[in-house]
Subunit: 296 residues, 4 copies
C-alpha cells in the first residue's frame, strides 16, 4: 500500500488534528478535509486537499478516514446520522480514531463499523501539538491485526512510536487513559514538589534535578516551575474531560484512584478561578495558591 | 588532600552505610569504624580498618567523620554526651552527615559543630543499597564552601553526582526531602496506575511503557508491577519515617502536600497488615488490595 | 381537595416506594399501581388498588402520579415513549417525583410536563425504608406554588417534615444532594472515628457519645460501630449512584468536594470486595480493613 | 469532701482556663492561681484568690491542682523542674489535667505522679470558652477510681456531663482525641456542604436544616454558613495542634484517618493565608476559596 495511491479523509483540525493532518498530507496521499468551522481547512486546501462540507461527503471517496475529535459524543455524532461518516463510507474502508475516548465508546464504535462492513482502528495519540506537527506522537493501537498492518504506514507519517495493544479495540483506550493518568499525576506531583521546594528555598536545584531526570517532560517542568500556563497546547477544560474518563474507566472495574480524584478537585478549583482555557497543567497552580503564594 | 593520608571514622554500617564505607575504605584512607551492633564492623576490620568501641573513640583520631544513621534523634545521640563524637573530635575536623534528617536538626547539628570548633557538611544521599555499594549514589551537599571542597574527594568515592546547595546546611536536608517526596509519590503513582492497568487488561504494555520512560527507577517498576516487596533495600518502617519528615518540613512552611498525606495513610495501612519490614514500596500494595485484588 | 376523591397512580414499588404507597393508599384515595416486576403490586391490589400494565395506563386515569425510581434514566424512561406516563396523562394533572435525581434531569422533566400541559412537583425524599413505611420521611419540595399546595395533602400522607425550596424545580434536587452529601460524609466519619476509637480501646464510650449526640442517626451508629451491614435499607450500589450525582452536581458549579471524592473511592473498594448489595454504609468497613482489622 | 475546706491551685488562665477557674472559685474553695502572664490572675485575686509566682508555689498549699495548658510540652514543663508543680506538691494531693494532650504524655504524667506519691486524674474537657464560663463543659475522666471520686465534686463545678473512661489514664486522652476528630471533621463537612449549597443556590435552607439537626453545634453552623471567623473561642493555630495529636495517636495504632489528613492540609492552607489567630473553624474557608468564591 503506497500512500500516494490512497485517498484519506481527515476530520477534526484542532491543535492536534492539524498537526497530524499536515504530516499525512506530506506523505503524498490525496487528502479530503472536514472541520466544523470550515476556515481551518484553508491551509490544507491551499496545499492541494479537497474540502468536504460534511463528514459523509469526506468519507465517500476515502480509503481511510482519520478522526481527531474532542470526546465520546463528538466521535459518535460524526460517525452516525444522515450526514455522518457511515452514511458515506464504502465497505472495507478503514477508520483510524486518534481521540482519547472511553473504552466502552471505543467498543461501540468498533461494533458500528463491523455492522457496516468497514473497519475501526483504535489509535489514540499521546503528545502535545508541537509533537503532532513534528510527526513525533506516540500511538496506542488496537484492532484486527491485518487491518492494523494496512493502517500502519499512515500511522507512521505522524507517529514516532507505535504501541500494539492487540485485537480488542478497547485496550488501546484503556492504555491511553492509563498513560494519561500517569502524566496528569506527574504534573500534580510537580506542582506539589515545586511548591514545597519554593517555600523551603530550593526551587532552582529541584527544577534542575527534575529536568535531568525527566527529559521528555521538560516542557512541563519549565511551565510548572515558572508558573507559565499561557499558550496552551491542551486546555484545562479538555484536560478535565480526560480526568473524568480516567475516573469513569477506573470506576467500571472498581479501582479507586485517589490521585485522580484529587486532581479532579484541583481542576475544578482551577476552573472556578477562571483558568479553563489556559494550558491544562494550570491545575498545579492550586498547590501554589493553597500554600499562600501570591497569584501570578 | 590525598585520601591516603587521611583518617576517616565511619559510624553506622547499615544497608546504605556499609556500601558507602566500602567505597571510602577502597580509596586507601585509614578507616575507623563504629557500629551499635559490633559484628557489622568485621568485614572492614578484616580489610584493615580499626574498630572503635564508641563514637568518641572513633572520632578521636579522625580528620573526617562520616555518619550514616536512622533519624534526627540517632544523629543527635551519636554526636552528644560523654561517649559522643564531639567528646573526641579535634577542632578543625569535618563531619559528613549522609542521613536523611530534618532541616531543623541539620541546622542544630551544624551549630553544635560551630560551637565545638569543628565543621559540618550536610550531605544526605539518594539511592538504594546497590547504588551505595557501587559508588553511584547522589549527594545533596551544603556547608561552608571551603569545607565542602575539602570533603569533596571523600564524597566522590561513593557518589556519582553531587548537587551543591550552597552554604545553608538545612537546604541540603530540604532538597533531600523534596527528592524523597518526588520518589515516594512516584511509587504510589505506579501502584495506582498498575492496579488500573491490571484490572483493565493492559498491565504488561503499561509496565513496558514505564520502563522505557523511567530508566533510573526500573527496579521499582518491576517490583510494583510484579508485586515483589521482599529483599528490602529500605524498609517500609524506615520509609514512613521519611514521609513524616516530609510532612513536618512542609508543615513548617505551611505547604499542604496531599500526596504525602495520602501516602502516609497508605504506609499506615501497610504497617497494619504487618508489612513494616518489607521493601518500602510495599505501601503500593494497598492500591491492589483496595481494588479487590487477592493478597499475594 | 380531599384525598378520597382523587385517583393516584404510583409507579415504582421498591423498598422506599412501597412504604410511601402504603401510606398514600391508607389516605383513602383510589390507587393505581405499576411496577416493572408485577408481583410487588399484589399487596396493594389486595387492599383495593388497581394494577396497570404500563406507566401510560397507570397515568391515564390519574389526578396525580407519584414516581419512586432509581435514577435519572429510569425516570426519563418511565415518562417518555409510547408506553410512558406522558402518553397517558391528562393536561392539568400533577406528577410528584420522589427519587433522588440530578438537578439537570429535574429541570428537563419539568420542561417535558410544561410542554405537555401537565405539572411537575420535584419532591425527593430523605429517609430509610422504615421511615417510609411509618410516614416519617422528609421531603424537599419545589415547583409552582399553587401546584405544590395542591400536592401537599398527598405529600403529608408519607412525610413528617416538608422543606419548601421555591419554584425552581432543580433546587429540590440540589438540596437533596446536599443533604445526602452530609449524611454520607457522616457515615464515613463514623467509620474512621470508630476505627480509631476501637484500636485505641474506647469504642464503647465513643459509640455511646455519638448515640447521645446523633439521635436521628442512631441506626447508623449501631450498624457502623458493630460492623453490621446486612438487611440493607439501601444498598451500596444505589448509594454509589448518589455519590456520583453529588460529584456531578458539584462539578457543574466548580465545587471540589474532597470528602465525596474519598467516599467514592471507598465505595469502589467496597464494591471490589463484593459488598455491593449490603447496606450502603458498608463502605465504612474499608476504614476497618485499612487499619488491619480482621474482616467480619 | 466539701469544697469550702479545700485549697485548689489553678494553673493556666487562658480562654478555657479562666472560665473553669471562675466556676471553681465560685464553689467556695480557697483558690491559688498561677499564669505565665500574671495580669490574667487579677480578676481572681480581686475575688479572693491568692496569686503564686511559680507553679511550685501554687502547688505547695494545694489539696488539688488543676492545669489548663496548651500542649504536651507545656504540661510536662509546668510539672517538672525546680519551679514545677512536683517540686511543691505534697504526697496524696491530686492533679486534675484538663488539657487536650497525647495519650503517651498522659501516661507519662500519671507515672511522674505515681513516683512522687501524688495522683493524676486525666480530665480533658470538651467545649468552647462560653461553655467553660457557664459551667457546661463535658469532661472525659480516667484514673484510679477512688481518686476520681474525690475529684468529682471539683469536676462538677464546671462540667455538665462527665464521661468515665476507667482507670487507664491514657483512655481519657484517646477519647478526647476521638471526640475532637469527630468535631473537626464535622466543621470541614459543613465547609464543603455549605460551599456546595451556596453555589447551587440552596445555602439558606441547608443552613436551616443543619441547625435543626445539630442543636449543640449551632454556633458553628452560623459561623461557617456566614463565613464569620472573628472573636475566636479557640484559634486555628491551637486547632492544628489538636489535629496533629489526632494524626499522631492514630498513627501509633496504624489507623489511617484520611479526613484528618485532609483537614491538616486545610489548616496549613488557612495558616498560609494568615488566618492562624482566627476561630479554628476558619479552615473551612478554604473550601469556599477553592470553589472560587471571593475572599470575605
Amino acid at each position: 500500500m503506497t500512500l500516494q495511491n490512497l485517498t484519506i479523509a481527515f476530520i477534526g483540525l484542532g491543535r492536534i488534528g492539524s498537526g497530524i493532518a499536515k504530516n499525512v498530507q506530506a506523505s503524498g496521499c490525496q487528502l479530503v478535509v472536514y472541520n466544523r468551522t470550515p476556515q481551518k481547512t484553508q491551509p490544507f486546501v491551499a496545499a492541494g486537499a479537497k474540502a468536504a462540507s460534511m463528514p459523509r461527503e469526506a468519507a465517500a471517496s476515502a480509503d481511510i478516514v482519520i478522526t481527531c475529535l474532542m470526546d465520546d459524543q463528538s466521535v459518535i455524532d460524526v460517525l452516525s446520522g444522515p450526514d455522518g461518516i457511515l452514511a458515506g463510507l464504502r465497505r472495507g474502508a478503514i477508520h483510524i480514531g486518534t481521540s482519547t475516548i472511553s473504552p466502552h465508546a471505543t467498543t461501540r464504535i468498533a461494533a458500528l463499523h463491523h455492522q457496516h462492513g468497514s473497519h475501526y482502528v483504535a489509535a489514540p495519540v499521546l503528545g502535545r501539538p508541537d509533537a503532532a506537527a513534528a510527526g513525533r506522537l506516540s500511538t496506542f493501537v488496537a484492532g484486527n491485526r491485518e487491518i492494523v498492518e494496512r493502517a500502519r504506514p499512515v500511522l507512521e507519517t505522524y507517529t514516532q512510536k507505535i504501541f500494539g495493544l492487540g485485537e480488542d479495540h478497547s485496550r488501546a483506550a484503556s492504555m491511553k487513559l492509563a498513560a494519561n493518568f500517569f502524566v496528569v499525576s506527574f504534573l500534580e506531583l510537580m506542582g506539589q514538589a515545586f511548591t514545597f521546594a519554593d517555600k523551603r528555598g530550593v526551587l532552582e536545584p529541584m527544577t534542575d534535578l527534575l529536568k535531568a531526570f525527566l527529559g521528555p517532560m521538560g516542557e512541563y517542568v519549565d511551565r510548572i516551575s515558572n508558573r507559565r500556563y499561557d499558550t496552551p497546547g491542551f486546555t484545562l477544560d479538555a484536560g478535565l474531560k480526560d480526568v473524568r474518563l480516567i475516573l469513569e474507566a477506573a470506576g467500571e472495574v472498581q479501582v479507586p484512584l485517589p490521585f485522580a480524584s484529587l486532581i479532579r478537585d484541583k481542576c475544578l478549583a482551577a476552573q472556578a478561578r477562571g483558568f479553563g482555557q489556559q494550558d491544562w497543567c494550570v491545575f498545579t497552580e492550586i498547590s501554589r495558591l493553597e500554600a499562600g503564594q501570591a497569584p501570578r
